[in-house]
């Protein structure tokens, strides 16, 4: 048996790498049932399988999957070391993790894992601070658990992500703090809930793919592929699974609940003409450059600008909401000036 096994490996090795060091075939180790990360279901393969496929496609290599439960790290790494696969997705690029794994090498990061707050879209919870007086659900022994515990918030602990989110759906907790892939997966399936990043870059975890340290060519190829895919393919795959990216929001801006609500009204009712940045289009003025007072802003929005496309909004948006939009636009202008 043993001799036969090594014989097979020898053949695979020849087929995997050509003389020029190009990767021709990539074998991925992945869990058959661990959505949103991976799944054997071809219709919903999970974002890590999709990213692995995109990497293989970028390298013009064929991808095959060796399905193996990944609940225990040691089992899946053994598959890699024993050459049953060449690539395993989803490892944190930190010194602490790599210290005791001399045979392992990690690729460039293909996404950043963060903690996010998940709550009802109408409940007004949009940040960590909003959780002070609420009951917060977390999964036991996770980074999110540690975060909420450290802040001293009223927390309820569950064993699995599913149980944690069930508690949110039942109303047992007001909000959940969870790792971004799991939170994204939940909100894409449950209308009426939103995920908000906690906005703490210090807690960001860069995630890369693992290869054997000896496979230098493979690591270089995977790094190159990730770099190629970073602009459009990776964000598209991640977005589909509800995983928001750091670039989606201007850095340094934390909005109050009032301004978050104003942003929502602005994006829905105003941004079609004035742009998502409020800097205007040929049909609509640059609101960041609005010269008048808040009262002037309210008046123009209510009565419109005759002879232009600016329609009167009186009766459709309340005066209070228009004032909040004025403040939101001012915040945008302040942020642009800072950048």
């Amino acid at each position: 048996m043993r001799i036969l096994w090594w014989l097979v490996v020898a053949i695979v090795l020849i087929a995997t790498t050509s003389s020029a060091g190009e990767v021709r075939r990539l074998r991925l180790c992945a869990d058959p049932s661990n959505l949103p990360f991976s799944s054997r279901d071809a219709g919903e393969p999970g974002f890590e399988v999709e990213i692995a496929r995109a990497i293989a496609a970028a390298l013009e290599a064929e991808l095959t999957v060796h399905w193996v439960p990944t609940a225990r790290e040691i089992i899946v790494l053994r598959q890699l070391y024993e050459r049953r696969c060449d690539l395993v997705m989803g490892f944190p690029i930190t010194a602490g993790f790599m210290d005791d794994k001399p045979r392992l090498s990690l690729s460039a990061p293909y996404y950043v894992m963060r903690q996010v707050v998940v709550a009802s879209s109408v409940g007004g919870v949009r940040s960590l601070e909003d959780l002070k007086s609420r009951v917060v659900g977390v999964q036991a022994m996770t980074l999110s658990d540690q975060l909420v515990y450290g802040r001293g918030y009223n927390r309820k602990v569950y064993v699995t992500p599913d149980e944690t989110f069930d508690a949110l759906l039942r109303g047992e907790v007001d909000a959940v703090v969870m790792e971004s892939p799991l939170a994204g997966w939940f909100v894409t399936r449950n209308a009426g809930f939103v995920a908000t990043e906690i906005g703490d870059p210090g807690r960001d975890l860069q995630i890369g793919a693992a290869v054997r340290k000896a496979d230098l060519d493979l690591k270089a190829s995977v790094d190159r592929a990730i770099q190629q895919l970073a602009a459009t393919t990776l964000p598209a795959i991640l977005a589909r699974y509800g995983i928001t990216l750091a670039q989606a929001r201007p850095p340094g801006t934390t909005l109050s609940p009032e301004l978050r609500a104003a942003r929502s009204t602005f994006l829905t009712q105003c941004s079609q003409c004035h742009g998502t940045d409020a800097k205007g289009t040929p049909a609509a003025s640059n609101l960041q450059a609005f010269k008048g007072s808040e009262a002037d802003f309210v008046r123009v929005v209510q009565t419109g600008r005759p002879g232009t496309g600016m329609t009167p909004w009186k009766g459709l948006i309340s005066e209070e909401d228009i004032r909040a939009i004025a403040r939101y636009v001012k915040q945008l202008a302040t942020d642009s000036a800072r950048q």
Binding site: S121, A191, A239, G242, Q272, T311
Partner: protein
């Protein structure tokens, strides 16, 4: 050579005089059911929005042709007095042209001497101050219907109004529905067998359920109403999660087509609301569909849904042309439609069975119709998430082709499609709540193009199912098209040009600068044996918004808006 040319010119002149002479019921004659049914042969007139029930917009007039196109000059200009949303197609009955001009303040109708441009009468109907957000943003009207001695049109506050065609005095008025829910009428109504058929606008952006309704053309009394979204318990309601059907959109905002042989009205339904697809899980029937309704009862005979749980505002409202196509030697009674999805679809017009779909644009990544069922199969990864980064999707939400009518020339077998090569960066807002009167879309959108020539007029052979020639323009073609028996195709542009092309080759033969974006209908008619081409222009505010973020198009946004009808004839 010279001899052949002059011979064929003589033949053309004889033919055209025959056509012009055909039915001439005398100036101001009533528009009977028989005249509407035979509108195709009534060469000198343009009696309804798409000229005929089949929806072709093909004028049988051939006095103006490639041979004399250089002598085509403006004869008169009529100003409508509004700014910003001229999308109207004029109609002409025996020397009288009826046009509309619309602003947020009023719906306006004019009767004009079609030979001289002299104003005969004008009617203004004031709009209520508390109409919804969409009407305030895009107040427009696409024209009137003619029936017997009346001119019939829909209003910004969701009424149907009939005027005396001779005097402009109101004859009857009907409230269709409560405008405070966001409903209004933008389309030109269609009169079939004494019924005024009108589809409602607003639902796709404002939430309430879309519908088509028929009214008695003599009295304005409602005859039937068909909802594009079934109510709880009705067939198809299982395709809407919980109560989402109540604010599920599905506007029917474009004038339909009709086949007297099947007695079916063919309409396209719009996108569901809100645009955030996850907020209304399910297939969302009967949005994004072709629907055939029995004109007598309003009962649905068949439907074909183009895309289930639609996420990108790709309304499939474009007209379904009634055409007998010849495929593999077999004649098939079909409806043919080119729509926002970027494909030309052919369906059996008796059963609704899907026959074929062929792409006509290159900037297309959303997915493709299943070759057997015709149902859209999406490319994974192109649905945005709420608050997530925008996704690049092609075409843009204006569509591979928009509402601007496609035109069909039965002599060439070509469907002329004003089409667009562009994409959008499309995102969803972080959260969205329904508020009556406010926009209920939840999108953020920026249009862009990967090509220098985003507007492409394509001549599509409906029998061979392929594009035969293309004519290019820098900005997207959100302007109108006309085909004539003079073997000409007229096309407008956002740059304010109207051009005439050879119908068989696409070669540009003539051009005129209107000074304002071409945005309304282009029609042809004849008075006293002389053929005219009428071009409605004036631009749309939205096009400035759409063009604003793409540097390749901003030159067109510098043009001023001015609501005009410019009428051309041969110089004498």
């Amino acid at each position: 050579m010279v001899r052949t040319a002059s011979l064929s010119l003589v033949a053309l002149l004889v033919l055209s005089s025959l056509l012009l002479a055909l039915p001439s019921p005398g100036r101001g004659a009533d528009v009977s059911d028989a005249r509407l049914l035979n509108a195709e042969r009534d060469a000198g007139n343009w009696l309804m929005y798409n000229r005929t029930y089949a929806g072709w917009r093909f004028s049988p007039l051939d006095q103006i042709s490639a041979a004399n196109i250089k002598k085509l000059v403006p004869k008169w200009i009529f100003a409508g007095g509004t700014v910003g949303d001229q999308q109207m197609t004029p109609v002409v009955n025996d020397g009288v042209m009826f046009t509309t001009s619309t602003s947020l303040a009023f719906n306006r109708v004019h009767a004009v001497n079609a030979a001289t441009g002299e104003l005969l009468w004008k009617y203004d109907r004031r709009t209520a101050e508390d109409v919804g957000a969409l009407v305030r943003l895009i107040p427009h009207n696409r024209g009137v219907a003619l029936y017997k001695d009346k001119v019939i049109f829909g209003t910004l506050d969701a009424h149907l109004v009939a005027l005396d065609a001779k005097t402009g005095k109101p004859a009857w008025e009907t409230k269709i529905v409560d405008y405070s829910d966001g409903y209004f009428v933008s389309q030109a109504p269609l009169v079939i067998k004494g019924k005024v058929v009108v589809g409602i606008a607003g639902p796709g952006e404002m939430g309430p359920r879309g519908f088509v309704e028929a009214f008695d053309a003599d009295t304005g009394k409602s005859q039937w109403r068909w909802y594009s979204i079934p109510a709880a318990g009705e067939r198809g309601s299982e395709t809407w999660a919980a109560d989402t059907w109540k604010i599920g959109g599905g506007a029917v905002w474009h004038t339909g087509t009709y086949d007297p042989a099947t007695n079916l009205l063919y309409v396209g339904t719009g996108n569901p609301a809100p645009w955030i697809a996850d907020m209304r899980k399910g297939d969302n029937l009967y949005t994004m569909s072709a629907v055939a309704l029995d004109v007598d009862t309003g009962k649905m005979k068949w439907f074909h849904q183009y895309l289930a749980n639609e996420p990108w505002d790709y309304d499939t409202v474009a007209e379904h042309h009634v055409i007998d196509v010849v495929r593999n030697g077999q004649t098939q009674k079909a409806v043919v439609t080119a729509n926002k999805l970027g494909y030309v679809y052919t369906l059996d017009r008796i059963t609704g069975k899907f026959l074929s779909a062929v792409p006509f644009v290159k900037s297309l990544n959303w997915g493709a119709p299943d070759p057997v069922t015709g149902k859209g199969v999406e490319t994974p990864g192109l649905r945005p998430t709420m608050g997530g980064p925008p996704v690049e999707v092609c075409p843009s939400l204006l569509g591979g082709t928009g509402w601007q009518p496609k035109v069909y020339n039965p002599r060439t077998g070509l469907l002329y499609i004003p089409s667009n090569e562009f994409c959008m960066k499309y995102g969803y807002v972080p959260d969205l709540t329904y508020k009556k009167g406010q926009l209920f879309t939840g999108n953020t959108t920026e249009h862009f193009s990967k090509t220098e020539q985003a507007g492409v007029l394509r001549a599509f052979d409906v029998n061979q199912n392929k594009v035969l020639w293309e004519w290019n323009n820098r900005t997207p073609l959100i302007s109108h098209t006309l085909a004539t028996a003079g073997d000409l195709v007229f096309q407008g542009t956002a740059e304010g040009r109207v051009v005439a092309l050879d119908a068989k080759s696409g070669q540009e033969l003539w051009s005129f600068s209107l000074g304002t974006p071409q945005s309304g209908g282009i029609i042809s008619y004849a008075v006293d044996g002389k053929q005219y081409i009428a071009v409605a222009a004036g631009g749309t505010v939205r096009s400035q918004v759409w063009f604003g973020k793409e540097p390749k198009w901003t030159h067109a946004t510098r043009l001023n808006f001015s609501d005009v009808v410019v009428v051309f004839g041969l110089s004498e």
